[in-house]
Amino acid sequence: MHFTVSKSVFYKSLQKVIGVIPTKTTIPILENIMIELKDNTLQLTGTDLEICISTELKVNGMENGACTVPAKSFNEILRELPDVPIEISLEEDDKFHIKTDKGLYKLVSQPKDEFPSIVVEDSEGQLDINAQILYNMIDKTIFAVSTDELRPTLMGVFFQITSDEFRCVSTDGHRLVKVINRDFKSSEFQKSVIVPTKALSLLLKNLDTFPNIEKVQVNFSIGENHVIFRIGEAFVYSKIIEGQYPKFENVIPINNDKKMIVNREELMSSVKRVSIFSNLITHQIKFLIDENNLTISSEDIEFGGEGNEEIPINYESERMEIGYNGVYVLDILRHLDTDDVEFLLKDSVSAAIINPSAQKQNEDLMMLIMPIRIKEE
């Protein structure tokens, strides 16, 4: 293997793959990245056995070949180099040479066939979706995914594809997000899968590198136990989380008839300030919702701190007092982007629905939060 390439081009491509490389593994070869040259196309691949990411870039090829090199050192030397042309070659003694006008660096390589190869089974269906749309859907759901290893099915985003809807759902049992999109081309198949969080955050990082993401198409294909997101030559492969996703439709209330409309920015900054005085473990804050007025308060019994703020709202039903985890409220508000948001409420112990005041075209976004029951003395 022998090629030349500019540092910045190579480094940028490497960033798309580097995130998947495990830092602690019992299989040392996984700490390597695979580099394969065919004519003028270089393919970079990394995997942790659950997820595999691969990308391609154009280089000046001189001799085809393939090998694997320690990802960490390779990444570090590229990072520290100025943007100069670099010449890379694999020598007879399996040493991986990186040559610049500054000097020569050598890494110990390992043969390609020791690197685990991902066997991709046949896909059961696929669809093309705009990268910007997909990015938004994942971004809006991924924060509410559970980290509770006792309930593995909640540790990923649930993708549901029906003939005319593409849905993403996430929940940790305390909050839930559902995004529906209708702007995609499906080849008439229906399928649901749970995709692990790590794969999706790597995918988001990958999509971040595109300067004009709204023009990029992502091909999303689903197999029996894997998914693949293809963006041009690059792909993110991931095993899916086996198991039954909870029947979330049943727990989304439909008769929450008390509507509170509030300015998002205003509420967010109030909650942030009041939360400072909430209990550090429970993060509990209290909403006192009255006619056109919302009082947000918190109290840390242990240390005696208190916070209290009032903001105007649009609300016409009866007075209510509801406790929430302030962190959850902020998370949700941060992931909405309209000026106003709408809370649909029932009572102080039932789920509240939080919606943007206006939905985007072809999109339906809903967030849900469970309250903290406060019993007054």
Binding site: L176, L280, T282, E302, F303, G304, M370, I372, E376, E377
Partner: protein, 590 residues
């Protein structure tokens, strides 16, 4: 008319089969009954042969007193026994069997052959039975003793047969029963064959050797003798030291007057004698024999005779606990932990003897001093980079709030914090436990719990026992912030959990609290105290969890706001102080 009589007297055959189910529920119970008979017959050699997990054959051969023709025929009938004759004898039971139902019961559900020869008689008897019916009685020439073989167990009770597990599993039950006998009767030679292979041939031996022979060489030199005499109870046997502890309770044997018994309370007495020597989740081996005047215990509680009633369980509990404690302390079970004052007997100062604490004057532990020590620690500016967003809120009302910059977590288990005169080490789990415990007690009084509602309520299946415990403590759990509703039968639904229970614990928390409650109950804890302890222990941040700087600071603040920050609710130390003087001394800088 005859059709209208719905209530009928069951035939004897049927009552025998029903009764058999009480006594004989699996091949292992046949082995148990037959070996008990052999022991009661004064044998000193007992051979047990099993095939197919005991389902196809169980044969017990002994060299005991044997029976003559008449006795033998009577013995296979119900309620015949040579062991008791009058009601008064029931209160003075010295033999293992006494109900007189075993042979008849076993015979009624199998094909049985009974051979027996009385010592010094030339002629023995052979009785063949099928389903409890005597098919043939004949004379044989045999040596002294009795041999009973049981074939095709449960052949005529298919329902029971269905419930039998695989051969291997049934065999393990048998082996377990045999272990009980071999440990209890060291004067008897026991031989066991399984599927034509000899499993063991145990010659008479002292208990110490038997334990190693039976339970394995892992206990070689790792057991401590227990021997204690009190006016009404004698205790003898061996307990394992902490090196030989296992993750399971498998090697725990308790015998009362030679009979294997199960007693949660007494097991607990033994385990609690270990105090904190054993890590959580590890269990010691023990083989303990209690001798108590038969008049002070009632073994006639359950047909399997494993449960007993003591007339004075609390005294037995404390005597047993004391004896084991003493054995452990004199048996040098704790040297590994102890690098000072090994002469401190565990029974008196179990907590202090295992840490550096013994080397520090006790006055350091008086609360005022330590708080003073921390307070006087000069506040150090916290570096911006270290501080997380969740940094604790500094409020004027927080009197106990102390600026601490030098706080580290080691191994995700302990928090180390620098104080002026040295440093303190805090057990993060124990610390949180103390905080939650006091909070729980406080909440019982105040009743304004906050409860995080769950989107997907947790369905918890309980057994009848646990369900009744849950009902007992439900009012207290509700005050802590649990919202638990009945569902159906013994199933409950958890709709809300205390808002300070961290995610990840909630799935099992009800089960764990009940288990802990159950365990503590036998020690006679007050119900409030017990619920608070169980809750605190199960909801506290786990040993091994990574904490942020903010969390650590908050934990320390809350800890020092508690009534007694130095000990967790179970009495283990929470804080260990290591003074500079002590460090200097150790590094030879005096």
């Amino acid at each position: 008319m005859s059709n209208s009589n719905k209530v009928k007297i069951l035939s004897e055959d049927l009552t025998n089969k029903i009764a058999a189910g009480e006594v004989v529920d699996r091949p292992a119970s046949v082995v148990k009954e037959l070996v008990e008979n052999s022991i009661d017959a004064g044998s000193d050699q007992i051979t047990v042969v099993v095939k197919g997990g005991g389902k196809s054959l169980i044969k017990v051969v002994d060299n005991g007193t044997g029976m003559n023709r008449e006795d033998a025929i009577l013995s296979v009938q119900r309620h015949t026994t040579s062991k008791i004759a009058t009601y008064n004898d029931l209160h003075n039971i010295h033999t293992l069997g006494f109900r007189g139902e075993a042979l008849a019961s076993i015979a009624s559900i199998s094909r049985m052959e009974l051979r027996s020869t009385v010592h010094n008689e030339n002629e023995g008897v052979l009785i063949k039975l099928e389903g409890g019916v005597v098919e043939d009685v004949s004379a044989i020439a045999d040596v002294r003793g009795t041999s009973i073989s049981v074939k095709n167990l449960f052949y005529n009770t298919p329902a029971r047969r269905k419930f039998l597990k695989q051969d291997d599993t049934e065999y393990r039950y048998i082996l377990n029963i045999m272990n009980r006998f071999t440990l209890a009767y060291r004067d008897i030679e026991f031989t066991l064959y399984n599927n034509d292979q000899q499993v063991f041939d145990l010659k008479p031996a002292p208990l110490e050797k038997r334990i190693v022979d039976v339970l394995g060489s892992r206990y070689q030199d790792k057991i401590v003798e227990v021997n204690d005499n009190h006016n009404f109870v004698q205790i003898s046997g061996y307990v394992g030291n902490q090196e030989s502890a296992k993750k399971s309770r498998a090697d725990q044997y308790l015998f009362l007057n030679g009979r294997y018994i199960q007693s949660r309370a007494l097991n607990h007495a033994i385990i609690s004698a270990y105090g904190t020597i054993l890590p959580r989740g590890e269990f010691p081996m023990f083989v303990i024999f209690l001798e108590i005047d038969p008049r002070r215990v009632d073994v006639n509680v359950h047909p399997s005779k494993m449960e007993v009633k003591f007339s004075d369980e609390r005294s037995v509990y404390s005597i047993l606990r004391g004896s084991v404690k003493e054995a452990l302390s004199t048996g040098q079970v704790i040297p590994a932990f102890q690098f000072s004052k090994p002469e401190v007997p565990i029974a008196e100062k179990p907590r202090l003897s295992q840490s550096f604490q013994t080397q520090i004057p006790l006055s350091v532990f008086e609360r005022g001093n330590l708080v003073e020590a921390i307070k006087s620690d000069e506040p150090v500016e916290i570096e911006e980079a270290e501080v997380e967003k969740t940094q604790p809120v500094k409020t004027p009302g927080a009197q106990k709030h102390l600026e601490r910059a030098n706080v580290w977590q080691v191994h995700n288990k302990y928090i180390i914090s620098e104080i002026k005169s040295g440093f303190i080490i805090i057990d993060q789990h124990a610390a949180h436990e103390r905080i939650l415990y006091e909070k729980a007690l406080h909440n019982f009084e105040r009743s304004n719990p906050s409860s995080q509602q769950l989107l997907f309520p947790i369905v918890v299946d309980l057994n009848a026992d646990d369900y009744s415990y849950l009902m007992e403590i439900l009012p207290f759990l509700e005050k802590l912030g649990f919202i638990i509703k009945g569902f159906s039968g013994n199933t409950v639904v958890v709709e809300g959990i205390p808002s300070d229970v961290k995610l990840g614990n909630k799935e099992n928390i009800i089960h764990e609290i009940l288990e802990d409650y159950h365990k503590n109950k036998s020690t006679g804890l007050d119900i409030r105290d017990n619920v608070a302890k169980s809750f605190a222990c199960k909801s506290a941040v786990k040993f091994g969890k990574k904490l942020s700087l903010g969390e650590m600071n908050s934990l320390i603040d809350q800890l020092f706001a508690t009534q007694s920050p130095y000990f967790c609710p179970h009495g283990r130390p929470v804080i260990i102080t290591l003074s500079l003087d002590e460090l200097n001394k150790r590094f030879g800088r005096t």
